[in-house]
Amino acid sequence: MSWSREKMCQRAAKELKDGDYVNLGIGMPTLVANYIPKNLNITLQSENGMLGMGPFPVKGEEDPDLINAGKQTITALPESSYFSSADSFAMIRGGHIDLSILGAMEVSCKGDLANWMIPGKMVKGMGGAMDLVAGVKKVIVLMDHNAKNGSPKILETCNLPLTGEKVVNLIITNLGVFEVDEGIKLLEYADNVSKEDIVNNTDAKVSFPD
C-alpha cells in the first residue's frame, strides 16, 4: 500500500535528466542523491556556495569548512567549485539551475507552496526556499501526501504563509505523481493506491486519466 520513502526518492530521481544542475532541499529531498542513475551526469548545487557536491565523507575525511545547506559534512568532486552566497543565488535567481526538489507543508492546486512558517509556533525562517522556487526552471515537491495528524497537504488554497505563488510543477507523494498546471492532474499511481485513496486524502479537485 503506497510508496515507502525510498520508493518516493527513487521516483523523484527519475525526473533528473542528463546534464542537469540540481538543488536538493533539506530532509527527504537530500536522499534523492542516493538514487541518481550512474549513467547520468548530474551536478548538485548547494546554496551555501558549492557546485558539484560529492557524497558524505567517510570517518576521518570530514572537514568543518565543507558542508551542505543542511549543515551536513560533505565531500568535493574533481569538478567542484566554490563561490559566495551572492554568486550562488545569482545562479538560482538567474534561472541557471534546472531543477529543485523540496519538501512542503502545503501545496495548492494552483501550485502555491507553503513550507517555511507556522504563525505563532515555528519561526525557523525560509532559508533559500523562496529564491529557489522563484528562480529555478522546474520545481518538484517531494512530500508525504498527508500531514502527521492525517490532514491533507494538497489543498484548494494554502492556509499557511506562502513560500511562492504558482511555483510548483510536479508533486511526488507516497500516493502518486501529480502534475500542477491549471489544476492537479494525476500522472501515476503509487503501488496499490486507488483513485478513491487519492480523492479521500486530497482537499483539491484532482483530474484522473481516463
Binding site: F56, V58, E62, D112, V123, K124, G125, M126, M130
Partner: protein, 237 residues
Amino acid sequence: MDKKNFKKIYNSPDEASKDVLFDGMTIMSGGFGLCGLPENLILAIKKSGVSNLSVISNNAGTEGYGLGLLLETKQIKRAISSYVGENKLFEQQYLSGEIELEFNPQGTLAERIRAGGAGIPAFFTATGVGTIVSKNKEIKTFNDKKYVMETGLVADLSIVKAWKGDKAGNLIYRKTARNFNPIMATAGKVTVVEVEELLNVGELDPDQVHTPGIYVHRIIKGKNYSKAIENLTFRDI
C-alpha cells in the same frame, strides 16, 4: 622585508574592534551555520559588553557557538537572518518579544548585502512576490512578470573570517567557509577580518585573491578556532 608600513594589522581581536563598537550599532557577521564564523571577533564583541545590537547574519549560531554567544548575554536587539532554526534560545527570545527579527530570503539577503557594498540602494527580484516578504514593498512589472523592490544593506561594522590574508588585506577563503564573508567585507563602514594565516605581501597569488584589500580596514590573525561541526554526517561504506 616589507618596507611599507601596513597599518591594517592589529595584534588582537579586542584591539581591532574596541574603538569601533558602540551601543545600538549594526553589525554584519559572516558565516553559514557554524562554517566560516569570525569566532575571535564575536568573542571580542561579547567581552566588550556592547548592547542593543542589530545583527545581519544568515543564521543565529547555536547554543554556545557563533552569535548564540551574544544571545546568551542579550546583546542583540534585532536580527536580519534567513534561517534561525538551529537556535532554540533565539526562538525563545523572539517568541517572548525580547528580540526583533526580520526574515529575508537567503538570496535576497545576499543580494541586499552585495548591493549595499556596491553602492546600489535598491533592486528588483521575483523572490518573495505573493508572500508576506513583499508586503508593503513596491511591486513592479518587467516583461509581464512581477518583481519586488528590496533595498541594499550596509553596516557600521562587518566582521569577516577568511582562510589566508596578507598584510595589504587581500583575502582567500576556504571551501564553503566563503559563503557570506566576501560580500559582507564590501558592505561594512569598517570591515575587520580574522584569518587563519596572516602572510606577507607577495605570498598570495593575485590571480587567486577573492577579496581585494581595499575592502579590508583591519586584519588580525585568529586563534583557537573551534570550527564546530553542526551536523556530522558520514556515508555507509
